[in-house]
Symmetry: C2
Subunit: 268 residues, 2 copies
């Protein structure tokens, strides 16, 4: 009812997307009855909705009658990714940053109440290589998340922080709104954010903000490394490199897109 409440009014599409989310985020493949139970909707309705999603290739159904996310999603995302101007502009700078530091480099943007990774450059092919792209991570305990918040107007940042679930991941995770706001203020002053094992034990990073052309979108670049390779000395050395890369990406973004354009996504 309040204008700020997230009452999605996307009609039929909204219902179908809720269903698609349900299936695609389920830990285990779901059968018809599972879905029926979890939605609470009537049989006929759910059946027809799933049928439509199947026919469009957004879902698939194997011999076991379980529903799984469909390949159409991969195709759509492939287009989304390769045509993303922000990612394309940033790519060479990520490579450069990787070459300078030798560590893993990430590019991410703020979206809704999470950070979405748009790109990644790493030295060694890891098994989780592609899985990071498109993955949503928490804002309050990632370098990119905190850096991105610092690029927004304080008002906007405050509003977003108020909606976050400041879940604890490690014993250094910031779980208090006030402390987080202070941290963001510090980051805004210094131009870079640290993540000292706040999300994952043994993993540290330095990140710097990238401002969107509008005032409602933001992202960041980061250099991540295992704690034993990322002491305070290393973080201090990488910080200006990361800041520089972020600044140049911001610059090119502004130049390429002009004052009336934006390549970053709208913040929710």
């Amino acid at each position: 009812m309040t204008p700020t409440s997230t009452t999605r009014d996307t009609g039929t599409l909204g219902k179908l997307m809720r269903l698609l989310d349900l299936v695609s985020t389920a830990e285990e493949p779901l059968r018809f009855s599972d879905i029926l139970q979890r939605t609470g909707e009537p049989r006929g309705t759910v059946h027809r909705q799933l049928g439509h999603l199947l026919e469009e290739g957004l879902l698939e159904q194997g011999r076991d009658l379980c529903y799984r996310p469909g390949l159409r999603l991969l195709m759509l995302a492939s287009n989304a990714w390769s045509r993303n101007e922000f990612r394309a502009i940033a790519a060479p700078y990520l490579q450069e940053l990787h070459a300078a530091t030798g560590e893993t480099v990430h590019l991410g943007v703020l979206s809704g109440n999470g950070v979405i990774y748009l790109d990644k450059v790493e030295s060694r092919q890891s098994v989780r290589m592609h899985s990071q792209i498109g993955r949503a991570s928490p804002v309050h305990c990632t370098g990119i998340g905190k850096a991105a918040l610092s690029a927004l107007p304080p008002e906007t940042a405050r509003e977003i922080i108020a909606t976050l679930d400041l879940k604890r991941f490690t014993d250094t995770t910031i779980t208090d709104q006030d402390l987080l706001r202070q941290e963001i203020a510090t980051i805004r002053r210094e131009g870079h954010a640290f993540d000292r094992e706040e999300h994952e034990a043994g993993i540290r990073c330095v990140a710097a903000p990238i401002a969107g052309a509008d005032q409602v979108s933001a992202g960041g670049v980061s250099v991540t490394a295992p704690a034993f390779r990322a002491g305070e000395a290393e973080l201090a050395v990488w910080a200006p490199l990361v800041r520089d890369a972020a600044a140049r990406i911001s610059g090119e973004l502004a130049a390429r897109l002009g004052p009336r354009r934006s390549g970053l996504s709208e913040a929710h």
Copy 2:
């Protein structure tokens, strides 16, 4: 009108997906008027449909009023990819194959009238690294495409071939249905497929088929290399390695999924 014609009857969803496809495959960002013109639908309708897609995050609109694919697509695809059983089962074998050959290894499945790449392992980080995942490639001139066809019942393969657009990419591309059927027969006999610069000049590959548990899905694994590193001798050495990897993936697929299950996507 005819029952066999591919008249999608997915109601509202179908219309929205057509719109989403239009935007996401467009070479350049589209403005409202461009979309209006290309669809021919009335203004009010298109406007509301786009509004719904925006609100769901499937599309985004920047300051320039241009519509672009949204980050939601990346998130959905990320889930689809990481939960894909077929990909997960194949992953270690791809690594193994890469270790044995030192060249780029692909995993793909047949979907509709194209090959969708599900995974990739390569030695050197290339700029186009992620862009391949989810990308659709032609069937008739790729190793995986031809191998996958050979894993289907001849009848099914014939039907699919009949629907393909045998576009010429290089001077070795097979552009004749009969020749392609013969090629598939040979591949079925030998257990592996070659791509001798049929898709891209200077690129050759060996692929082997992976059969889905049902009789309507199929995929393949391939080793790809630049022509100067992939002479007939090398291809001959790699062929049994690729066949072996494919066979073991097929085996585990059958074992893990059982006789009544399938992790591969339904063929169109």
